[in-house]
């Protein structure tokens, strides 16, 4: 086990701010202290070589969790063991073996070519010249940025910069990598390139990767396992497609029509989700898929016909909305099906 998290909790204190001069003056003397539970008793384990996605809405506690696991933040309670260390003790031997990349925080020197910052990291992580040269050559090759090493970071595009950040973080060949929103704000091509790279890195180097992302695509593409977190609690832990398992009671039928059809006629075959003049999407219970499909083909002027799963996003959105309890989410799914 490379990461073992046991009932980890973290809350933040903040002050209630009200507008207006009167309140500002009052706040001088007495401030109302509020606490927000950022992470609430989470537990999970990660095995070496796994690539796990961390999903959740803004403020769910993803970044806070990563920060605790990398030793930046102290938890209020709970235990965590990462690479055999307690991260917030910040032992040197621990720091030498992992890396964290935060999409919104740069470690490269803005006005200098990236290779200067990379060399600095070489010294910080005490890498010998040969290993450094080899790693650098390999990674610049993979990410296709060899020619950009001598260009000032501020002249690089966002995608190129992110690639350099990745190289800087991985130059000491960490066994464990935390990635916080690594593809935020990037164009599609850079996103794909970085995904390919991470996949390769995970497979070839057997590095364990834990990543958070806004883009479902990142996680769907990369991670066999995802942990979904909402309001500081884990609401789902498992195969991402399994989220759909929770909602698998419904299927979507997409239709292209040759003639316009009355809404009432469509509704006879299922719940109408979308409707345009010559197309429609119907939601039907899985159990009745066969009969419904047949009926539709028999009674409607169908040109084209498609059966699809409910998109993962929708399942997750439902998890966010309702469930702080996984069980509750499941109930909800059943309610939908029924």
């Amino acid at each position: 086990m490379i990461i073992d998290v046991n009932t980890l909790s973290k809350s933040f204190e903040y002050y209630k701010k009200e507008l207006g001069l009167k309140n500002s003056v009052r706040n001088l003397f007495h401030r109302q202290k509020l606490t927000k539970k950022a992470v609430d008793q989470i537990s999970f384990q990660i095995e070496p070589g796994e690539m796990v996605g961390f999903l959740g809405p803004n403020g769910a506690g993803k970044t806070t969790t990563l920060k605790m696991l990398s030793g930046i933040l102290h938890p209020d309670s709970g235990k965590a063991s990462v690479l055999g260390f307690t991260p917030w003790e910040r032992k040197k031997a621990f720091k030498m073996q992992f890396a964290i990349v935060m999409g919104q925080k740069a470690q490269l020197w803005w006005d200098l070519p990236a290779n200067e910052s990379l060399y600095l990291n070489k010294c910080i992580y005490e890498i010998d010249d040969k290993a450094y040269a080899a790693t650098l050559a390999e990674m610049t090759e993979l990410l296709d940025v060899k020619s950009l090493l001598n260009v000032q970071v501020r002249r690089l595009s966002l995608g190129e910069r992110m690639k350099m950040e990745l190289i800087a973080a991985l130059i000491h060949k960490p066994r464990l990598i935390f990635l916080d929103e690594p593809t935020i704000g990037l164009d599609l091509i850079s996103q794909r390139k970085i995904r390919e790279f991470l996949k390769y890195y995970n497979q070839e180097k057997h590095a364990t990767i834990l990543l958070t992302s806004h883009y479902m695509g990142d996680v769907e593409d990369l991670c066999r396992r995802s942990i979904i977190i909402n309001q500081g609690r884990i609401v789902y832990d498992g195969d991402l497609q399994g989220v759909n398992g929770l909602f698998a009671e419904r299927k979507l039928i997409k239709l292209q029509l040759s003639d316009a059809v009355q809404p009432a006629d469509l509704a006879a075959f299922g719940t109408v989700r979308e409707r345009a003049e010559l197309s429609a999407t119907l939601e039907v219970p899985r159990m009745e898929l066969k009969e419904r499909a047949k009926a539709i083909l028999d009674h409607l002027p169908v040109l084209d016909f498609n059966i699809e799963d409910v998109p993962v996003e929708e399942g997750i959105a439902l998890l966010y909305q309702k469930g702080s309890e996984p069980a509750e989410a499941q109930e909800h799914a059943h309610a939908l099906a029924g």
């Binding site: 806070t64 102290h74 040197k92 803005w110 006005d111 200067e116 910052s117 910080i124 005490e126």
Partner: protein, 270 residues
């Protein structure tokens, strides 16, 4: 012990890289370079105007001849290079770094965080202008005072300059560490920074009780007065003992405050 030495060597080498990177980054903006030089030269003129006042009035001030005062002012200019060129930018940047959570990444590096944050940048223009000008002034004063060059005088002077640099580092970092608890400390920062200029003249021009205050309570005078006092053989034994103790005392206090601040950072920031 071996490990400690290895760590020190590593940190020293990284510091060299910091300096090199700072120079390269500054070279990127050539006109800024000129601007910094213009500013520091302007300040240099102001410092030298005090020299003019002293020489042209031709009087001994509280027992110090103009040549001796020149020695103090030269030391002040040199130390300004050290302070403004090596420490000041980092000190002023600390608040911003804490506010924007920039410490996060540094915290995960296998290098001392305090080292990374408080010595990361250097302004080589300011450093060069003041060190060169200061050295010239000190050499002139040294020659005019006909001080023999020996291991004791020159070595002692350099040693005291090194101790002074440590004091300058600790003393001016301390108020900035408050940024860990209070986000807006710009006023404190600015006011403490201005204290620096009290060293423009030897402390002998101030009342005795101000001198004692500035040596033992708020040890600002130690920084530029002690090296010339030692060379001029005017240093009382109490000062001598204090000068050896103070740097370590300050570093220890800074270390404590830093760790305390960091604990608040890593438990409060989001």
């Amino acid at each position: 012990m071996r490990n400690l030495w290895r760590e020190i060597k590593k940190h020293l080498y990284i510091y060299l890289l910091f300096v090199k990177n700072s120079i390269m980054a500054q070279m990127e903006y050539r006109f800024n370079f000129i601007g910094n030089m213009a500013m520091e030269t302007g300040y240099l003129f102001v410092k030298l105007s005090y020299v003019v006042v002293v020489y042209r009035s031709g009087v001994t001030i509280n027992g110090l001849t103009p040549d001796e005062i020149l020695f103090f002012i030269g030391t002040f200019i040199t130390m300004t290079g050290v302070y403004a060129g090596m420490f000041m930018i980092n000190n002023f940047g600390l608040r911003q770094k804490i506010k924007e959570g920039e410490l996060d990444i540094y915290l995960t590096k296998p290098v001392s965080l305090q080292f990374m944050v408080t010595l990361r940048r250097a302004d080589v223009t300011i450093f060069a202008v003041d060190i060169i000008a200061g050295a010239v002034v000190v050499i002139i004063a040294w020659t005019r005072l006909a001080i023999p060059i020996s291991l004791v005088t020159l070595g002692g002077y350099l040693l005291f300059m090194a101790l002074s640099s440590v004091v300058a580092y600790g003393l001016f970092l301390l108020p900035q560490i408050l940024s860990f608890w209070f986000l807006d400390t710009s006023a404190i920062a600015e006011i403490t920074d201005m204290f620096w200029d009290f060293n423009n003249m030897p402390m002998d021009i101030y009342h005795n009780w101000i001198q004692q205050l500035g040596v033992f309570v708020l040890p600002i005078f130690v920084i530029t007065n002690f090296p010339p006092l030692f060379v001029l053989n005017k240093m009382p034994p109490a000062y001598f003992a204090w000068s050896l103790l103070l740097p370590f005392l300050l570093l220890w206090i800074v270390r404590l405050a830093w760790q305390k601040g960091l604990r608040s950072y890593s438990s409060a920031s989001s």
